[in-house]
Symmetry: C2
Subunit: 199 residues, 2 copies
């Protein structure tokens, strides 16, 4: 364990992808936005001081919905009732495609980001979140943790990513955490754990 | 870090308390149940093989609502569309008060449980989740991680608990994670981290 205290680390962004993702039959779809996903991931980003959580959807009505939600919490009555929520939701950024996230981060950080795909299933090449952190530190690149809604990221999104994170495995064969809980655990492991086991 | 592989540990239950909790002014209230809390915590319990997640509310209409929700996923159309969800929601148990949870766990395990309160704020006596695990292992007692909705557990609930878990602290002063994300991180740390720092 890394213990408590200040957690250092490279710059990490979140991207919650709603399209293209898979449905239960493995077909490509655009998933609808879930209100609580936005709140939970914005609060997670704020807790771990991630510069932004991108919400990716090409659907204009969904983009409009997210902008209205953000406006409510940043400028409407929500900002007065819940100033803590305002502080978190300020980190949300809406984009139509993951490629726009890449350009955005590259512009902001001056270096192209390393994209880490996430999944509920193991792949042969996935790495622990702490190893991913070490790779970003070693290469001085920002990172984007790419999370899928629906039944997970579509193949086309995987091909845009440079690596995959080892899925959260608990105690047993059940691997159906919500994207909210999985993201929280992965971000915590990313910053908190050591990249190699103690001697 | 403890690395991957099989995570062993003592028996741990979750209890999501809706009353008595505090509102934003610190007054005691009964909070309404949030549908996604139940799904997320049931899936978390299933992932880490916790025997049950208790949903605590004395409000009969809320209990009825939760029973209808569980019935939909266990016996209704939900069970056919989402067998994975059925497997998780089977771990939910509705009780009117935390004292009933204590009796229930004692009956099931043959030993009185150790109750760990959770909070977004530090107390002088809180322990890391992995230290809490060690205490349960050493004393051979089951544990209950007690989570509050609203603005956190009421004073009366704190007095029923035997210890408090150190809050999730990220990188900075923001401590407003959702109960869903905080529970996920605490359970992961409970089973995965070492109880003492490496030499």
């Amino acid at each position: 364990m890394s213990g408590s205290g200040t957690l250092r680390g490279p710059v990490l962004y979140l991207a919650l992808v709603h399209a293209p993702v898979r449905n239960r039959r493995g077909e490509e779809i655009a998933a609808a936005v879930t209100n609580l996903d936005l709140h939970d991931l914005a609060r997670l980003a704020c807790t771990y001081d991630l510069p932004a959580c991108y919400v990716v959807t090409p659907l204009e009505d969904q983009q409009e919905l997210i902008h209205r939600l953000i406006h409510h919490w940043l400028y409407g009555i929500g900002s007065r009732l819940h100033p803590d929520r305002e502080r978190a939701l300020r980190r949300l950024r809406v984009r139509a495609a993951l490629q726009e996230v890449v350009s955005d981060v590259e512009r902001e950080c001056g270096r192209a980001p390393f994209l880490w795909a996430t999944s509920a299933r193991r792949s042969g090449t996935d790495v622990e979140p702490a190893e991913a952190r070490l790779i970003l530190e070693t290469t001085s690149r920002p990172g984007v943790m790419v999370l899928g809604t629906g039944w997970g990221l579509a193949e086309r999104v995987w091909r845009l990513c440079h690596g995959t994170l080892r899925p959260v495995e608990g105690r047993g064969d059940y691997n159906h955490l919500s994207v909210r809980c999985a993201a929280a655990i992965l971000v915590d492991r990313f910053f908190r754990e050591s990249a190699s086991p103690p001697l």
